[in-house]
């Protein structure tokens, strides 16, 4: 069964302090706002680098991609991330179906996707 979106927050300290949002559930038109609100909360609390752990996401649609797009803009608001390629947001372990959505919409060309958390944190 699909389910709503639950988000856990933790921190990984590499060269940069990386806030990890662990997503569990579906990222669709119903839960887009849940992710954006949580991201806004942690950005307002000072998060500058964010890793979205998508290993628990059973569905990703365009609404989820709009949330991810919104997060890149939140993280770029301080001017640190003004290039074409996002330096502040990375994606961890999307399902094959979710990875296909990234590729189809071209998001994989400006947001890095990793399958190992240590590698992802070190890449910031």
């Amino acid at each position: 069964m699909s389910e709503d979106l639950h988000i856990g927050v933790s921190q990984e300290d590499g060269a940069k302090a990386v806030t990890v949002l662990r997503l569990k559930g579906s990222l669709d038109g119903n839960t887009q706002g849940t992710l954006e609100a949580k991201a806004r909360e942690v950005v307002d609390a000072g998060a500058q680098y964010m890793l979205l752990d998508m290993s628990g996401v059973d569905y990703l649609g365009s609404a989820g991609m709009r949330a991810i797009h919104a997060i890149t803009n939140m993280l770029a608001a301080d001017g640190a991330d003004t290039g074409m390629h996002s330096k502040n947001l990375k994606i961890l372990s999307p399902s094959p179906a979710a990875a296909k959505i990234f590729k189809t919409l071209g998001f994989d060309s400006f947001i890095d996707i990793h399958n190992d958390i240590d590698e992802a944190v070190a890449a910031f």
Binding site: S2, S26, G61, S62, A63, M65, N73, L105, G106, F110
Partner: protein, 138 residues
């Protein structure tokens, strides 16, 4: 197989579950099932957001025609032809605008044919995924 419901965005997961269960009965492989799930989710989301302004009656019918799988989505929203609203060009994240048209772009990429017709008091969207019936390997 058919599903009729008064839908809102909170019912999207139920609609996706219906697609999974219905499509599974036709032995469709996982990649095609994922594509069909995306296409239906995006199409219904568009109907709910742009046609109904939130919630309304939706009828889903999934059937096969030879090796092809057909999904018909009927609503009673004002006439809306997705082809009249072509996907907009993709914008990279640094652009401060909100990306539009991504859902329709995904629908058109996920299935082989998309057609729309006006029916009595609403719309019927037909999505066709060709040569997928019986492709599941186990």
């Amino acid at each position: 197989m058919r599903l009729e419901l008064t839908a809102d965005l909170g019912k999207l997961s139920r609609i996706r579950d219906f697609v999974s269960e219905a499509v599974a009965t036709f032995a469709v492989d996982t990649a095609a099932l994922d594509d069909l799930t995306v296409a239906v989710d995006e199409a219904v989301t568009n109907i709910l957001v742009h046609g109904y302004d939130g919630a309304g009656d939706i009828e889903l019918e999934i059937s096969v025609s030879g090796p092809d799988l057909l999904v018909r989505i009927r609503d009673q929203a004002p006439e809306f032809d997705a082809k009249l609203s072509p996907p907009t060009a993709l914008q990279p994240p640094p652009a401060r605008n909100k990306p539009g048209g991504l859902g329709l772009y995904l629908v058109q990429n996920a299935v082989d044919d998309v057609s729309h017709r006006v029916i009595d008091g609403g719309n019927e969207l037909t999505l066709i995924k060709r040569n997928v019936v019986g492709t599941q390997s186990d």
